[in-house]
């Protein structure tokens, strides 16, 4: 909770895919606000949004999609309207030695290629479906993973010949994977949104607003870009 002894805690609920970037931003925020500690609570966007709607302790909510944020919005727990801050696009990754010799999206259709994607119910899965459809890929994936991290893990472990992941994940994986660029990927993006939560009074309401501002600042943009995030898609 919020300390009375000069120490203040700002609790931020954030989508799990923001783990590294938000950890970095939180440190920056603490440096700029002496006496303030940022507590980061990561989880799946849906869970976090539902918990926020249920009145879970927290001052800021950041989700990986707009639908989840809608759950919190509908529950009336947002202090202000949600605002988009970054976007993310898909890319194809393969194990570093690329055993199946994937060079383009079309290669996924080749016989004997095990590729994995996110389940269509997850934001990344919906995007993947759209992309595969537009590329006319007929071969079904070997598995529909629950989230993009699972897709990445398959590829890193050599269990799949290729996977469709977010660029951020490809960047985070570094040398563990090889990236195969997809020309049309930018057409399909997801949008991350952030909003301060209501119930915050006085000082901490200000802090929440300041944190949201930090997330949307140029300073943060550098952090996000380094992590592989892209621009918010223009509507």
């Amino acid at each position: 909770g919020d300390g009375d002894d000069g120490e203040q805690t700002l609790t931020v609920l954030a989508a799990a895919s923001l783990t590294e970037t938000f950890t970095e931003l939180a440190a920056t925020f603490e440096d700029e606000h002496p006496g303030v500690e940022v507590e980061l609570v990561f989880g799946s966007s849906t869970t976090l949004a539902e918990q926020a709607a249920d009145g879970a302790p927290g001052r800021v909510l950041a989700t990986a999609d707009e639908v989840s944020m809608g759950v919190a919005d509908d529950a009336g727990v947002l202090a202000t309207a949600p605002e988009p801050f970054v976007g993310n696009t898909l890319t194809v990754v393969t194990p570093p030695d690329n055993p199946a010799g994937i060079t383009s999206l079309d290669d996924l259709d080749a016989p004997g290629v095990d590729y994995v994607v996110c389940a269509s119910t997850a934001p990344c899965g919906a995007a993947a479906e759209e992309l595969l459809d537009s590329a006319g890929i007929e071969a079904p994936p070997a598995s529909e993973e629950v989230d993009v991290k699972a897709v990445l893990a398959r590829v890193v472990q050599g269990e799949a010949d290729a996977g469709l992941v977010y660029r951020t994940d490809a960047v985070a994986a570094g040398d563990d994977v090889a990236e195969v660029a997809i020309p049309d990927a930018d057409d399909v993006t997801t949008t991350y949104v952030v909003a301060p939560l209501s119930g915050a009074a006085g000082a901490s309401a200000d802090l929440a607003a300041e944190f949201v501002a930090l997330v949307r600042s140029e300073e943060a943009r550098a952090v996000f870009t380094r992590a592989g995030f892209g621009e918010v898609a223009s509507p």
Partner: protein, 260 residues
Amino acid sequence: MTGPRLGRAPAVLLVPAVVGVALLVVPLVTLVVATPWRTLPEHLGSQVVREALVITALSSLLTVVACVLLGTPLAWLLARVDFRGRRVVRALVLVPLVLPPVVAGVALVTALGRSGLIGQHLPFTLPYTTSGVVVAHTFVSLPFYVLAVEGALRTHGASYDVVAATLGADRWTAFRRVTLPLALPGVLAGSALAWARSLGEFGATITFAGNYPGTTQTMPSLIYVALNSDPTVARTLSLILLALSVGVLVLLRERWAVGR
């Protein structure tokens, strides 16, 4: 038969028992109440759900079979045979219990995956197949089974094994005709545990075997995936799983009770 009247169940036992039941049952009831049942037939009719139900039923059944076949001898070994390193084996057998399921899946991948230490030498691949689902479920359920059966075997002690031996029964005969029948309640309890654990398992399954409708997608995987988009659907699906399993349990228990 009602048996001798040993006295009223005392409050000091009844009260915690009722609290325990309440803790377990109330959330279920509220879940049932809070779920829209109208959409149920529609879900039951969908092919994805039907496939997931079949895979769940099949793999949980095979898991119980695997647990009984592998776990019963293992429990017997731990309860009855004095060998060096028994303690360590017993502790190791329990470890998969402690692993978060996803990590259990990761462990399976490192061992039995396509490029796993053992898996790369296997003539067949387990990931992305229904067999892989069974392996993952067995990995997760086996410790539960072994522990329950070992407890039952220890409760009874070895005295009837000794009697069987004096009658010329070697260990296998004694096991088959004396040890196992006497430990039957424990075997049934263990099977129920393993079966239930397998029904609800998804972390290890999805990580090791994957999640493709018709081959590896079980009900819990489907439910988890659904949670990401529409929690209401996920709840409804959970209730289907729940209703079916309660049905099976009640039916089975009826059988056991008669057998006893």
